[in-house]
């Protein structure tokens, strides 16, 4: 533990990542305490006000406080990121482990299905789902999860393949353990590390993708303070009210950056090759 902490602190970028992620998590947890205004209350008298002591990040085109919206937006973004990863990760991991461990025909079938989803253009899937079920954050998450899991399948499968013939797994078989036990007690715990690191990076990427979908109007719907939607709504007045687009943009940038730095750091720390 101490060792881990020392490793983390020996890399300034990882510390930065950790810091950003912490700030986001804290903002999400204590949004009502941190926010200075309601995130959705419209105040037409004070629209497009520049940043000031009253409105730290200014106000948007209907007079909502951008700072508060961004703070509340962390909740949405974190929720999207976490839920998508939490849906995609187990599906991908289990399928990948089964494919890798079972091999043969099962592997073939699973990997072909994975290929289908992998080569399926995700954004079209998202658009179709939005068209079918209506644009909403939930549907965006569904679409993202549907296109995300194959990555975990691939990663886990390849790491399963690399440990599949390990002697400790062989030993377990020699002891008479059934495949189920081997899969869950021996194979999966030893092959999800790379996928876990990927998942931590993905938290950022999912948020980014969701913002992209919101940007083209498929994601979060108007009153909700989703960053991509905020950015989208204010893009036309980028020059008159720079703050309206800049802060949501920065929020996305920093969030993704934070998760990336952290994920990269974890990778460097956990990857035995680079020790």
């Amino acid at each position: 533990m101490v060792e881990l902490a020392r490793r983390i602190f020996s890399s300034p970028l990882t510390v930065l990542g950790l810091f950003i992620v912490l700030v986001i998590v804290i903002s999400a947890a204590f949004a009502p305490l941190i926010a200075t205004h309601s995130p959705t209350e419209v105040d037409l008298l004070s629209k497009l006000e520049a940043p000031s002591a009253e409105h730290y990040f200014g106000t948007d085109e209907v007079g909502r406080d951008i700072f508060s919206r961004i703070i509340y937006g962390t909740r949405i973004s974190l929720r999207i990121g976490l839920l998508v990863v939490l849906i995609a990760f187990p599906i991908g991991t289990i399928l990948g482990a089964i494919a890798g461990y079972a091999g043969g025909r099962i592997d073939q079938v699973i990997m072909r299905i994975t290929d289908v989803f992998l080569s399926f253009p995700g954004i079209i899937l998202a658009m179709s789902i939005a068209a079918a079920l209506g644009p909403s954050i939930e549907n965006v998450m569904l679409a993202l999860a549907a296109t995300w899991w194959p990555w975990y399948t691939r990663i886990v499968r390849s790491s399963v393949l690399s440990i599949k013939h390990s002697e400790f797994i062989e030993a377990s078989r020699a002891l008479g353990a059934n495949p189920f036990r081997i899969l869950f007690k021996e194979v999966i715990p030893n092959s999800i590390a790379p996928a876990t690191i990927q998942a931590s990076l993905d938290l950022g990427f999912v948020i980014l993708s969701a913002a992209g979908l919101s940007f083209i109007g498929l994601g979060a719907q108007p009153p909700s303070p989703e960053w991509g939607a905020m950015l989208s709504n204010s893009r036309e007045i980028l020059r008159e009210a720079w703050w309206a687009a800049t802060f949501p943009g920065l929020a996305i940038l920093l969030t993704v950056l934070g998760f990336n730095l952290l994920g990269d750091g974890l990778n460097d720390i956990l990857d035995p090759k680079q020790r």
């Binding site: 390990s166 002697e167 062989e170 030993a171 377990s172 036990r181 030893n190």
Partner: protein, 318 residues
């Protein structure tokens, strides 16, 4: 009746090689017959890739043998149902070469040692605890070390944990697949000593696989020398080492660097490397490297014959 009797065992692997998926057949074990008596050790030596591990693994049915018969205490193992086989697994265990790879890095030593007992539903919690702790003592671990993870141990300790795991179910036969090859000499001797002690104590039988001739000779009662999936010589250890018959055995023995600077050696240096088991030479598979090879060697597959009492070799020239 020998504890283990293996007759004409074959283990062929069909592999898709490379990008193309060309199928090749690797005859890893190609008609091996051996026996192991109770309380005795059979040493199996040979160079890398000659099929030693495959032999061990197919005896345990970790891979399905292609052909042949394996009898444990007279019972045929080949074709046995999964359920019966599970029962039998208590009797035969395996110890692996790599002390780093043979223990699940994410489980504590206690969990590792407890797993076999759980799998076979042996005893209750208290019993298991006691058994594990006594085993730990045997291999020189303190109780509190049981909750450590494998990476916190040295190679020798890990190898002993591997042996302890094999012992939890109190088997009769242990197949030790190069248990000391990855260890430093000073540690290797610890493990060898432990194995010898255990054998005496529990009347264990070993199949001891190694490529190190001196180690094999130290621990074995009988030795089988393998070359390209076949046993080329098998006999009591003294016979094999003192009067080796097969030219391969002789070459092996003479190639061994002896830790004695004063000894003057006359070496038989074999030419070339071990041929690929997927494309073995015709006739006697050794003829391509054999200093004694003649024309017939390329044609006749030499049978394993009793050339001297209790001393079998597969060569037409002895």
């Amino acid at each position: 009746m020998p504890l283990l009797e293996v007759t004409n065992l074959k283990q062929h692997f069909t592999t898709k090689k490379g990008f193309m998926g060309d199928k090749t057949v690797v005859k890893a074990v190609d008609g091996v017959s051996i026996t192991i008596d109770e309380g005795k050790t059979l040493g199996v030596v040979g160079e890398s890739g000659c099929g030693k591990s495959s032999l061990g693994r197919s005896i345990l049915r970790l891979v399905e043998p292609t052909e042949g018969s394996i009898k444990f205490e007279g019972k045929e193992i080949v074709g046995m149902s999964a359920k019966e086989m599970k029962e039998l697994r208590k009797e035969m265990q395996i110890v692996f070469q790599d002390p780093y790879a043979s223990l699940n890095p994410r489980r504590t030593v206690r969990q590792i040692l407890e797993a076999p007992l759980i799998i076979h539903g042996a005893g209750d919690k208290a019993y298991r605890k006691e058994l594990i702790e006594s085993l730990a003592g045997k291999i020189g671990l303190r109780k509190e070390q049981l909750s450590n993870y494998p990476h916190e141990f040295s190679g020798g300790q890990r190898q002993r944990i591997g042996i302890a795991r094999a012992l939890t179910l109190n088997p009769k036969l242990i197949i030790a697949d190069e248990p000391v090859s990855a260890l430093d000499v000073s540690v290797q001797s610890q493990v060898l000593n432990l194995m010898l002690d255990l054998q005496r104590e529990r009347n264990l039988s070993y199949m001891f696989i190694s490529h190190d001739l001196s180690v094999v000779q130290h621990i074995s009662d009988k030795v089988a020398v393998m070359y390209l999936g076949k046993v080329v010589e098998i006999a009591d250890v003294a016979k094999v080492y003192d009067t080796p018959l097969h030219p391969y055995t002789r070459a092996l023995l003479s190639a061994l660097p002896v830790p004695d600077p004063t000894r003057i050696k006359s070496r038989i240096i074999l030419q070339g490397d071990l041929p690929s088991p997927s494309n073995p030479p015709s006739g006697c598979t050794f003829h391509t490297r054999c200093p004694m090879a003649t024309k017939e060697c390329a044609e006749i597959v030499p049978p394993l014959e009793e050339k001297a009492p209790g001393h079998f070799a597969a060569c037409i020239h002895v």
